[in-house]
């Protein structure tokens, strides 16, 4: 189904630029050719229907080629954060039984180490310089496509992502080709994405937001996807804070006449603080979408003041993709609203007794959509709780106004929102308490300017233990954005009379 979606675009817009990445540009015909060529390479490795192939890549054209090649074989792509450390990768690769990993030369060694700890054989494909007995991505793009035949239209499983859902620990979410086709369709219809649009991809493609609003939306509509290339030093990509890429991002918006900019509040706050020279305004932009974290009034107003464009909040989740967006007129737009449900999506506000609530009353947001996963893998108890009669109970609290416009008012779950990432405090606590000196650990978010929150750990130790040792311990086991920036030592954790941890007292 997804390959046919791509093919339809190729037939309509063969010469249209599909992807822009640094100095390179490929059109839809070339993109589809690479997809077919790479799918042959994967087939040569034995990848077949329902096999899992992990993509552990930063945003790059090979990410898009890999995903569509996997989909064209009716196999399943597992999208993982390229910042994950070996023990995180090991958990996800084992849980999903991945047969192949596609990564880049920077992460190849970590992947090789991880593979050596797995019980099953895994092929490693490397974009760029290959290492050890890995395979080069480019060598697997077969050029002889005479015998290549697309599979019949397939609506089955195609995507694995991990979500903490409304209840903490990451769980595997599987979505089908049919789910993703509907997600692309709903997004394009709601946002009125056309082939003349240019979408700038700053948000990670492994995440449901970037994957849907950037990759799926572009391929479905024939729009051009411009991917921000990494900064390179001596030919080696260097990761750096977004503020140091701001000048390049503004240049790209102007050069590529970007019309749609999906990003997170943190990115918009940094763009809003850009000096007035050399880009006083960005006239090509027609739609700036904010999602991932709560958008503050301060960022909304500063961005509008700086560029004259309102930020429009979009709401979604890994389980269903994007489901609502605020498309109110420029004059009437309210920063806090996530707008109306997208095309073909139903969102209800449900009370404690399961009843639908009238306007202005706060309840849990419940989604019904063709884009929705059928449930979490291996979690029957959670599934029973959050997936009921085709509806998904999001764990987010919200309300509707008289016109049906939705806003989020709180969350049942507790995440720390830091620099565009969501951190599950329980995951960090789980790591800290495995340190031999740590008796108890509670992780909270403390408010910081520009970043939302930073991760703070409050620990009770059996013996004296230097902060640096605990941070180094976390660095070994957790992606960088999850590592506590502040560690506070206490003799005990404050609790209520009923024994509940008083997290607010620890912020």
């Amino acid at each position: 189904m997804l390959y046919q979606m791509l093919q339809k675009t190729v037939v309509e817009f063969p010469e249209k630029t599909a992807l822009v990445y640094g100095q390179s540009r490929i059109n839809y015909q070339e993109f589809a050719q690479q997809v077919r060529g790479f799918s042959q390479g994967l087939e040569f490795l034995g990848v077949k229907q329902s096999d899992c192939v992990a993509i552990i890549l930063p945003n790059c054209p090979e990410f898009a080629v890999s995903f569509y090649a996997i989909a064209s074989l009716n196999a399943i792509a597992l999208l993982l954060n390229p910042g994950y450390k070996e023990n995180e990768l090991e958990h996800f690769l084992r849980d999903s039984n991945a047969k192949v990993i596609i990564t880049d030369s920077i992460r190849a060694e970590a992947c090789q180490q991880t593979i050596s700890r797995l019980e099953h054989h895994v092929d490693l494909i490397v974009v760029g310089q290959k290492a050890g007995n890995s395979l080069a991505f480019v060598d697997l793009i077969h050029q002889d496509l005479e015998n290549w035949q697309p599979q019949d239209v397939y609506t089955g499983d195609v995507l694995y992502q991990y979500s903490s859902g409304s209840t903490g620990r990451p769980k595997r979410v599987c979505r089908t080709q049919k789910n993703l086709w509907h997600q692309a369709h709903n997004c394009v219809e709601t946002l009125q994405v056309k082939s003349s649009d240019n979408i700038l991809c700053l948000v990670p493609l492994y995440h449901a937001y970037g994957f849907g609003e950037c990759l799926l939306a572009a391929i479905y509509s024939g729009a051009t996807l411009t991917i921000l290339e990494p900064f390179s030093q001596n030919g080696v990509p260097v990761e750096m804070p977004f503020v140091f890429r701001r000048a390049r991002v503004l240049e790209l918006i102007e050069q590529e006449t970007i019309t749609i900019l999906p990003a997170v509040p943190y990115i918009f706050s940094i763009l809003a603080a850009a000096p007035p020279e050399p880009y006083a305004e960005l006239p090509s932009l027609r739609l700036c979408i904010s999602a991932g974290n709560f958008l503050s009034q301060d960022i909304f107003e500063k961005f509008r003041q700086r560029f004259g464009i309102p930020l429009r909040q979009l709401y979604g989740c890994t389980e269903a993709g994007s489901v609502a967006i605020n498309l109110e007129s420029d004059q009437e737009i309210k920063y806090e609203s996530i707008g109306l449900p997208m095309h073909n999506v139903e969102i209800k506000v449900i009370g404690d007794r399961g009843q639908e609530l009238p306007p202005e009353l706060e309840g849990e947001l419940v989604i019904k959509s063709q884009t929705l996963t059928s449930g979490y893998h291996n979690s029957p108890e959670v599934n029973k709780e959050v997936f009921q009669n085709g509806h998904f109970f999001t764990g987010d609290l919200g309300k509707k106004d008289e016109q049906g416009y939705l806003s989020i008012t709180g969350r049942k779950r507790i995440f720390i929102e830091t620099g565009g990432h969501k951190v599950d405090p329980f995951e960090v606590e789980d790591v800290l308490v495995t340190h031999p000196n740590v008796e108890e650990a509670v992780v909270v978010g403390t408010k910081q300017p520009y970043t939302g929150e930073i991760v703070k750990a409050v620990v009770v130790c059996q013996q004296q233990c230097p902060e640096e040792e605990l941070i180094a311990y976390c660095q070994e086991k957790l992606a960088d954005f999850k590592i506590p920036r502040i560690i506070e030592f206490r003799s005990q954790i404050p609790r209520s009379a009923l024994g509940k941890i008083l997290r607010k007292d620890l912020v």
């Binding site: 750096m240 804070p241 503020v243 701001r246 850009a274 830091t418 620099g419 502040i486």
Partner: protein, 83 residues
Amino acid sequence: MTIEELKLKTQNVVSELLPNVDSQKLTNDQDIFYLGLNSINAMTLIFNLQEAFGVTFNDAEINFDNFRTIDDIVKLIARKTQA
């Protein structure tokens, strides 16, 4: 302000953002991003430096190479304050 004073003031601004880092590790040529500065506090670093020294960095100056070490920052600020 002398270069030594600039260095000291810059060290103080950086140290505030790296409370867990031993001040002895914060040498003039140490990569401060290696010590723990990251996307989360880079923007705050820029704002705090602007405020501390009464300067405004333009977008071309806000690049990784100008903010990687205390020496890099001092060089940039010295250039701006002399101009």
